[in-house]
Symmetry: C2
Subunit: 524 residues, 2 copies
């Protein structure tokens, strides 16, 4: 079922340049060598995507919904081979990957629901007013259409839910955009299995083959050529800040600049308010360490910063957190490169003059294992060195001690944009939290109370986004129903003959969409 091919539309090809999948728990190559796609593959995939763009965007929403559901079915039909391969390539445990498969198919089904509900189309009608003075008003209608073909870059840390058929692909296909995936080299077999499932779904639904192509590869040139191709009209990316910035630069330098939706970097501040710290600091500590070390800390929403008032209550919290971390097992990381970067980031903090090490987790016995790390510094020191606010991807966090919550507010105001902020508070902390909340709102995409930021619900009200550099576009989310909006743009139609009016905005509302008529919202 896996042969290392490049999948371009309905075809497959083997490339001369090859790379191996690596098992991070051994550092050794797995079976099968994989094609590194070249610029010729980019050219072919983009030509097919361009040819598919109009018919795919013009599908009735129910037909695109059925296609998304078919992809979900085909992924489930791969069976345990998918889980076994993903375990070998990512080092992630079975339960996590089975859950992630459910999340992946759940996302596809959510967008099928979104398509059938129909608000995405933004059906808007301002009827003609032929008798208006001084000038008559023509009939004007608006609908959203796909922006065109989308390039998707999968993430290493979610080999299913944020990769080949992950959130970016699902939302782009939902919007009616053909997708060209640049496969992540950390899980090429997993990627190929899923890509073949999508390829089968395209065929089963009788869609133009260019709706989906899959380009595995290791080179930055491959990704760069894909983003630079004039037929690509938007980009979805989840990964490092450096990678995201590079794609943003390429996109901005095109003859036609295009939007890049890059989810890049976040340290997800946790603010531990005084009453909660006093009443239950020690009890919160193990849960904090649990969130920090879950999945070897390899979540975009990992809590990499905790802010609390210095004093005996915080000392108790730190003692309990240190104890929990000291007993926490090392965990397999996704790739040797991620492990190296983690080790370097932790070493830099450990060697920093103004940073104290609180505790380390148990050292790993195998290769590429994350040993948890907790550090401490003061607000003054944190504010003096911007590097202390940079993400260390993995299970490392830094506690910033403040004199009072005014100083906490200053620390928050100094932060770059974040995916999440967590507030841990008791009832008597609420007036203090009310003062800090407006500052947080302007820094993050999601604020959560008395929970932990790891764990991102796929739902209608989710924002997995936030101001730069959490993402490249803080007006959007990459998780949840609103992710489809990234790949849509509005078009107006004025006084068109009835035969030319698209179904989405035709008289009689054939797709039974919610609509806005003369500014008044109506349910279908």
């Amino acid at each position: 079922m896996i042969n290392g091919a490049i999948l371009i539309g309905a075809s497959e090809a083997q490339g001369d340049s090859r790379f191996d999948a690596v098992d991070p728990s051994t550092g050794k190559a797995l079976d099968t060598s994989f094609s590194s796609a070249g610029t010729d593959s980019v050219e072919q995939a983009c030509a097919l995507a361009d040819a598919a763009a109009i018919p795919f965007a013009d599908l009735a929403p129910a037909d695109r919904a059925a296609f998304l559901e078919k992809i979900a079915d085909e992924i489930v039909a791969i069976g345990d081979d998918l889980i076994v391969r993903a375990m070998a390539e990512s080092g992630l445990p079975r339960a996590r990957l089975e859950g992630e498969r459910g999340r992946t198919t759940g996302q596809l089904k959510l967008f099928a629901t979104v398509l059938r509900e129909g608000s995405w189309a933004a059906r808007t009608i301002d009827p003609a007013q032929p008798d208006r003075q001084p000038l008559p008003r023509p009939d004007i209608r608006l609908r959203n259409i796909s922006v065109g073909p989308v390039a998707v870059f999968g993430a290493s840390n979610f080999p299913l839910a944020f990769s080949v058929a992950g959130g970016d692909t699902a939302s782009a296909l939902a919007a009616g955009s053909p997708v060209v995936v640049k496969g992540h080299p950390a899980h090429p077999g997993t990627g190929e299995l899923v890509a073949r499932a999508i390829q089968r779904a395209v065929a089963a639904c009788g869609l133009p083959e260019g709706v989906f192509s899959y380009l595995p590869g290791t080179s930055n040139e491959l990704g760069g050529a894909l983003v630079a191709d004039p037929r690509i009209k938007a980009v979805g990316f989840t990964g490092s800040r450096g990678g995201g910035l590079a794609l943003m630069r390429i996109a901005a330098q095109r003859a036609e600049p295009i939007p890049v939706y890059a989810e890049m970097s976040s340290i997800n501040p946790v603010i531990l308010f005084p009453a909660a710290l006093k009443a239950r600091g020690a009890a919160l500590a193990p849960a904090f360490i649990g969130s920090l070390t879950m999945g070897a800390g390899q979540f975009c929403t990992n809590p990499g910063l905790l802010i609390a008032i210095d004093g005996p209550d915080l000392d108790a919290f730190l003692a309990a957190a240190g104890e929990a971390l000291t007993g926490s097992a090392a965990a397999q990381m996704l790739t040797p490169a991620i492990h190296d970067a983690y080790e370097k980031g932790v070493a830099a903090l450990a060697a920093h003059n103004d940073v104290t090490q609180v505790a380390r987790g148990v050292a790993g016995e195998g290769v590429n294992q994350a040993q948890g790390a907790l550090f401490k510094t003061s607000a003054a020191q944190f504010l003096a060195d911007k590097a202390l606010g940079h993400e260390v991807f993995g299970s490392s966090s830094i506690v910033v001690t403040v004199k009072d919550m005014d100083e906490a507010r200053s620390v928050i105001a100094s932060l770059e944009g974040q995916l999440t902020a967590t507030i841990l508070l008791d009832a008597e902390d609420e007036p203090l939290a009310a003062q800090i909340l407006p500052v947080l709102e302007r820094k993050v995409g999601r604020i959560l109370a008395n929970g932990w930021p790891t764990g991102v619900e796929v739902c209608h009200a989710m924002v997995h986004g936030g101001p730069f550099p959490a993402t490249s576009d803080g007006r959007t989310t990459s998780v949840g129903a609103k992710a489809i909006e990234r790949f849509l743009r509005p078009v107006s139609y004025q006084a068109l003959p009835a035969s030319l009016v698209p179904a989405a905005i035709a008289d009689g509302n054939p797709w039974t969409l919610p609509e806005r008529v003369d500014g008044v919202l109506k349910l279908s």
Copy 2:
């Protein structure tokens, strides 16, 4: 009422560096010299805007709506002085400016309606599911908030409707964003009158003074410093392609890149289908010339390109168009610089080896007058020289002759992004138009049938936007109700205590907003 001041919050100041307003009909300076704001003014205005951002964004929608209506009232209260000054500075006639004043106050009132209707807030609630397996779902809510302070660059060609209190300012204020306007030097007295009206409205509504500042000036450095200021979070611009691209570059190079909404360049293709050409080509010609020469052609939606099949029917159309243009009076242009650029653009077309001049309008007798120009070329020649597709701002248009509608489609496919496309067709043209429509949809923001692109309705279904370079962000519109979306971003709130939940998403829906609950849209 005009003294040439810089208006920063509630204060005013005179700058040492000065410039004059010029009457384009004489080329001479008008009374009053105006301050050129410097970077110290940018610093002060942005500090005040930043301080105002949270309280202004947190206003109840009805209060922000009342503020917009108060601005409209204050503009009307200026009385005829505003019209007289705008006439002197722009060379535009009284009726046009009175109409534009109505459009300006109408836009402000439209956004007041939009605010009260409430869809802008995107109230979305996914209630908790405490018993869900394997994990409970927390309560998650979403609302839109302002992106933060916005820099607005007024346009020369709409000294009221796209300037100090124009569409960008109205939609940004509606979103809850404080606004810092960089005043256009072509109409500084008009700008100051309107800026003082907004300043009075801020005071009358008891809002923080930083909600609005006005920085007149002539230098690119002023605008650059404003866009580079870290407290500015988005930019609205209407003007030249060069100007828009310069602001896009500055915004992209910031430590925190921000969105620039620049409306820049469009030649607004008109496609004259064969049956309509045959049946009523000669009758359409005078209306085409009317749209071309209206307001000296100084509209973003001016029809700068017409595509039709070569032959006797087109010859008849061109003869009638030439006759209409030959009799059309010269018209005053907005500024000497715009007139110079128009003259250069027309001269380049006239001297082009592959372009034929069809007709010119009557030569002007005063200074800075536009003499209309109509040219002709073939599809092959048009496709061979990209420069022929560049905008000549003013009453100049080029007719591209094609062999058949397949070639017309190739010409359309070669175009850059456009604000509008116009299709002139009869019933028997509809099957041909149905084939071309999907190509047009992917190139433009608005498609209109059997009308003329000049004249942009301010309504709910309007898109005054389009792919690059028509605008810098084809997912948006700068005219109509949806313009507010440019200055909003979503934030999620997870499991917040009731006392901390913002009113927009509080239990009981205190603002009676339309809402989405568990994915289901409900009217308030």
